[in-house]
C-alpha cells in the first residue's frame, strides 16, 4: 500500500455554533479517484473548501506530500502546495480566450510587462494537447460548451502543477457523452499519479469512476470503502441512516384527500434549451393534500414550480385547475388561476428588502386595496393582522424587511401569499436558513393552509426529514423527469434517495444491487 499523497486529520469547522465538520479524517493516494458522498449539507463542500484554503478550519492537520500544516492560509497557498479545485460555479472569465483564462494573472511577459501572446498560446496549446486537444487556445470561453469550459478549468488547475484535483459535482451540467469524455480525461490523469477527489450525488458515476469512496453524514465521517466492495444500497444507508438525529413527528392522521384540484398533464421544455430540461412532467394535487417535490439540486424542481407559475415562458404547459384547463403564461395569470409561489431565494427574488413590512405583505394583492385609489389604512390594518397572527418579530410594520431574521423574513413572504389566498400554495425551500422555532411555525402554517377546504400545498425541499414529515405524497424528480411517486407509507429517506440518485444506464453496477435500482 503506497503512502497517501494527501492526509487530512481531525478537520473541524463550526459556523455560528453549529458544527458542520466533526473531526473528519480524509486521505487521497496518488493515482486514485476518491469519491466523496453525502446528502446536501453533510459537509463535503466545507471539507474541500478547507483543503483548497478557501475556508479556515477550527482544528485539524493537513499533510500534502512533504508539506504538513494546520491549514492553508489562503487559496493561493493551497494552489502552490498542489491543490487544484474545479468549482461548482465556474471561476472563469467568459469574454476572454481559453489561453487567457488558463494563464489569468500570470501571463508570460516580455520586458516592461508586455504580455507575450504568442508564447502564451503556444504554452496553452501544449497543455490542451494532453487534456482536450479539440479546444483551440484562441477560442473565447463563452463560445464553448459547459463540458469544454470545465476541461479548460481542469487544464488550468493542472497547469498550476496540481497534484490533487478536486471536482465538485462536475457532471451537473454535462450530457452523457460529455461525461464519458470527462471520465476518459480523469482516467488519463489517474495514470499520471494525480490524486482526484470526486464529489457527486450521482452514485452511478461514483461506481463508474472511483477507486474508493468516503461517506460523510451531518459533518461526521461514516466510512471509507473500496468502491468495488460496496453497493449503492450500502452507500445510501450510510448517507441517510439518521441514527441519533431526532426526526420530526409525521403529520398527524392525514385528512382523506379530496377531489383533484391541480392536474398537471404535461410540462416539457423545448429540447436542448435549458438544463435541466424538463420532460413530460405530470402529477396531481388533490384538495387538502400537502405534496412534496423531492430531488437533488439541479433535478428541475424549482424549474417545474416556476413553469407552473408562468415564469418560464418557453416551456409547453398543459394544466387543469379543478377540471378546467387554465392558461399560465405569466405569474399574474397563475395568481388569477389560483396559484401562489413562495420563491426559493427570499432575498434575491422574494422580498423587497428596502421596503417596509406592510408593503411587502401587500405586494401580490395590491388590487384588494383598491383598483385606482390605494387604501393605505386597509393595507396597514392587514399588515398588523398578519404580523400578529404569524407572530412576526419586528419593531412595527413600517420597518424595512432587510434587517429581519431569516425566519421572520420567511414569515413575511408567507403572509404575502396568505393575503392572496391562492388555492394551491407552492413553497420552494420554505425553511432554508431558518431557525428551529420558526421552522416549526412555518410547518404548522402550511398544514393549516392545506387543511382549509379547497386548498392544497406543494412543497419543494432538499431537507428530507422536512418533506417526509410534511407531505402526504412525494414525487421524486431526477434530471428533469418525475422518477417516481411515493405514498406516505412508502416514503423514507432511503426510498427518496434511491429514486433521486440513481440513473437508468448500463453502468457497471454490482449485479446484486442492479435490480433494486429503479
Amino acid at each position: 500500500m503506497d503512502a497517501p499523497l494527501l492526509q487530512m486529520r481531525g478537520m473541524r469547522k463550526s459556523y455560528g455554533g453549529v458544527e458542520v465538520l466533526k473531526s473528519v479524517d480524509f486521505e487521497v493516494r496518488a493515482g486514485e479517484v476518491h469519491a466523496l458522498c453525502g446528502e446536501n449539507g453533510a459537509g463535503k463542500s466545507t471539507l474541500m473548501n478547507l483543503l483548497a484554503g478557501v475556508v479556515a478550519p477550527d482544528g485539524g492537520e493537513i499533510t500534502l506530500g512533504n508539506t504538513r500544516c494546520a491549514a492553508f492560509a489562503h487559496a493561493h497557498a493551497a494552489q502552490t502546495a498542489g491543490v487544484g479545485m474545479v468549482f461548482q460555479e465556474r471561476s472563469l472569465f467568459a469574454p476572454l480566450t481559453v489561453a487567457e483564462n488558463i494563464y489569468a494573472g500570470r501571463q508570460p511577459t516580455r520586458s516592461w510587462g508586455v504580455i507575450d501572446h504568442a508564447q502564451m498560446i503556444r504554452n496553452a496549446e501544449r497543455l490542451l494537447a494532453e487534456t482536450a486537444p479539440d479546444i483551440s487556445p484562441r477560442e473565447r470561453l463563452q463560445d464553448l460548451s459547459p463540458a469544454h469550459q470545465q476541461m479548460v478549468e481542469i487544464t488550468k488547475a493542472l497547469s498550476l502543477d496540481a497534484r490533487i484535483l478536486i471536482l465538485d459535482e462536475p457532471t451537473a451540467a454535462l450530457t452523457e457523452t460529455e461525461t464519458t469524455r470527462l471520465f476518459d480525461l480523469l482516467r488519463r490523469l489517474r495514470s499520471r499519479e494525480v490524486g482526484i477527489v470526486y464529489i457527486s450525488h450521482r452514485l452511478e458515476e461514483v461506481f463508474q469512476i472511483s477507486d474508493r469512496v468516503t461517506v460523510l453524514k451531518d459533518g461526521a465521517w461514516q466510512a471509507t470503502l473500496p468502491t468495488h466492495h460496496t453497493t449503492p444500497d450500502e452507500l445510501i444507508r450510510l448517507m441517510v441512516g439518521r441514527g441519533l438525529a431526532p426526526s420530526p413527528p409525521p403529520r398527524a392522521n392525514t385528512v382523506p384527500a379530496g377531489p383533484p384540484l391541480l392536474e398537471v398533464r404535461r410540462i416539457s421544455d423545448p429540447p436542448g434549451l435549458a438544463s435541466p430540461c424538463l420532460q413530460e412532467i405530470s402529477f396531481q394535487v388533490r384538495e387538502g393534500e400537502i405534496i412534496g417535490l423531492a430531488g437533488l439540486a439541479g433535478a428541475g424542481r424549482t424549474e417545474t414550480a416556476l413553469t407552473l407559475f408562468g415564469a418560464r415562458r418557453s416551456a409547453q404547459v398543459l394544466v387543469e385547475m379543478a377540471g378546467q384547463p387554465v392558461s399560465l403564461r405569466s405569474p399574474s395569470e397563475a395568481i388569477d388561476a389560483g396559484l401562489g409561489y413562495v420563491s426559493e431565494d427570499r432575498k434575491e427574488s422574494g422580498l423587497f428588502l428596502d421596503m417596509s413590512l406592510r408593503r411587502n405583505v401587500s405586494a401580490a394583492s395590491l388590487t384588494r386595496f383598491g383598483r385606482w385609489w390605494f387604501d393605505d389604512a386597509g393595507e396597514k390594518r392587514v399588515a398588523e393582522e398578519r404580523r400578529t397572527s404569524l407572530r412576526i418579530a419586528c419593531r412595527d410594520v413600517e420597518q424595512d424587511t432587510a434587517h429581519l431574521s431569516g425566519g421572520n423574513q420567511q414569515k413575511v413572504l408567507l403572509a404575502r401569499w396568505l393575503q392572496v389566498d391562492p388555492r394551491i400554495l407552492i413553497v420552494d425551500e420554505p425553511t432554508r436558513g431558518v431557525d428551529v422555532g420558526a421552522k416549526a411555525e412555518v410547518h404548522r402554517l402550511l398544514r393549516d393552509f392545506a387543511a382549509r377546504p379547497g386548498h392544497a400545498v406543494l412543497v419543494i425541499s432538499s431537507d428530507l426529514p422536512e418533506i417526509l414529515s410534511l407531505a402526504d405524497r412525494i414525487y421524486v424528480m431526477r434530471a428533469g423527469c418525475i422518477a417516481g411517486e411515493l405514498s406516505r407509507a412508502e416514503a423514507s429517506e432511503e426510498a427518496v434517495m434511491r429514486l433521486a440518485a440513481a440513473r437508468q444506464s448500463p453502468a457497471p453496477l454490482p449485479s446484486s444491487s442492479q435490480d433494486r435500482l429503479a
Partner: protein, 325 residues
C-alpha cells in the same frame, strides 16, 4: 389617510432625503441673506421668483417623468433631445405645413408619447439596457430635430405663443402647467395602486414579477409617460419664446436626473417622490439664480452644482451607512 412621509418607501428613522434637501435649501437662502445683504434686495422680489420658477418649468416637467422612471429603477437620456424634436416638429407643422395650432400641438404630444413608448419597447421587450437604448435614441431625436428645423423655427403663430406666454396671478402658463402636473404626479405616486407598482418594480424587479406585477407593461408605460411629458415640455417652451429651437433640450436630461437624485431618487430604484423631484429642480434653479445675481461666471455654475450633487449624495450615503449599523 397616512401622513405623506409614509408615501415614499419608508426606510429610515432620520431625515428623509427630501427633508434634507429642504433644509439645505433653507440654509442656502439664509446664508445668501446674511452674506450678501445688498444682493438680497435683488433676490427677494416677486419678479425674481417668477423668473426662477419660469426657468425651472421646462426641467421640472422632465424631472417629474424622470422621477417615475427612476423609482422604477431606470432612466431616459433621450428626453432633452425628444423635447427639442417635438418642439421643432410642432413648430414645423403649424408654420411650414400650415396645420391649425390645436392639431399641431396634439400631434406633437402624441409624437412625444410614441417616441417614449418606442424606448420602452426596446428596453422592456428587446431587453436592451436603458442607458444604451436612450443614448441611441438621443442621437436619433436630436438628429431629426436638426434635419427638420435646422437651428430652429422662429416667429411661430401668436395663437400658439399665447399658450406659453399668458399669465395668471403673475406667473406664466408653463409654471402653472408644472404645478398641475406635479400635483397630479404626487397624487398618482402616493395614492394610486397603479403607480405604487413602480416602487416594487424598482426595489426588486424579480420579486415584483413573481408577485404578479406586470413588469414589462409598467416599463413601457413609464417610458411612454416620460415621452409625453418631454413632448409637453418642448411644446410649452417653444410657445413661451415663440421659437422652436433644435438644441433647447441639450443636457436637460442630465439636469433632470441630477434634480431627481438631489430630491431622493436612487439609481438602484425603489425610492423617490414627486415632491422630491420638484424640490430638486427648485434647489438647482435657486442656486443658479443666486450665482447669476452675484455675477458668477457661468463656467463656475457647473463646478458648483456638480460639487453640491456629490456632497449632498455623499453625506446622505454616509449618514445612511451609520444608521444601518
Amino acid at each position: 389617510m397616512s401622513p405623506p412621509a409614509a408615501n415614499a418607501s419608508p426606510r429610515r428613522v432620520g431625515l428623509s432625503r427630501e427633508s434634507g434637501l429642504l433644509l439645505l435649501l433653507v440654509v442656502t437662502v439664509v446664508l445668501f441673506r446674511l452674506l450678501f445683504p445688498v444682493s438680497w434686495q435683488q433676490f427677494a422680489t416677486f419678479d425674481n421668483f417668477a423668473s426662477v420658477v419660469r426657468n425651472m418649468a421646462f426641467e421640472g416637467i422632465l424631472a417629474l417623468g424622470m422621477m417615475l422612471l427612476m423609482i422604477g429603477g431606470t432612466f431616459d437620456l433621450s428626453v432633452g433631445a425628444l423635447a427639442s424634436m417635438v418642439g421643432v416638429v410642432t413648430g414645423w407643422l403649424m408654420k411650414e405645413a400650415g396645420w391649425p395650432v390645436p392639431f399641431a400641438v396634439a400631434t406633437g404630444i402624441a409624437l412625444g408619447a410614441a417616441s417614449g413608448f418606442a424606448n420602452g419597447v426596446v428596453v422592456a421587450k428587446v431587453r436592451v439596457n436603458a442607458l444604451i437604448t436612450t443614448l441611441g435614441t438621443m442621437g436619433i431625436f436630436s438628429g431629426v430635430a436638426l434635419l427638420i428645423g435646422g437651428p430652429g423655427i422662429t416667429f411661430l403663430p401668436p395663437s400658439f405663443a399665447r399658450l406659453g406666454q399668458s399669465e395668471w396671478l403673475g406667473l406664466q402658463a408653463p409654471v402653472w402647467l408644472l404645478a398641475v402636473l406635479a400635483l397630479g404626479a404626487h397624487v398618482a405616486l402616493a395614492h394610486t395602486r397603479f403607480f405604487r407598482q413602480f416602487y416594487y418594480l424598482g426595489s426588486n424587479p424579480k420579486a415584483a414579477y413573481l408577485s404578479g406585477i406586470p413588469v414589462e407593461r409598467l416599463q413601457m408605460l413609464g417610458f411612454a409617460l416620460m415621452g409625453l411629458l418631454a413632448g409637453l415640455a418642448g411644446i410649452v417652451y417653444a410657445a413661451r419664446v415663440a421659437t422652436a429651437s433644435s438644441t433647447i433640450g441639450v443636457g436637460k436630461e442630465l439636469g433632470a436626473i441630477t434634480a431627481c437624485i438631489l430630491g431622493g431618487a436612487s439609481l438602484q430604484g425603489g425610492r423617490g417622490t414627486a415632491w422630491g423631484a420638484l424640490l430638486g429642480v427648485l434647489f438647482v434653479a435657486l442656486l443658479q439664480n443666486m450665482l447669476l445675481i452675484k455675477q458668477v461666471r457661468p463656467e463656475w455654475q457647473g463646478i458648483i452644482l456638480g460639487a453640491v450633487l456629490v456632497f449632498a449624495v455623499g453625506v446622505d450615503s454616509l449618514l445612511n451607512r451609520k444608521q444601518s449599523r
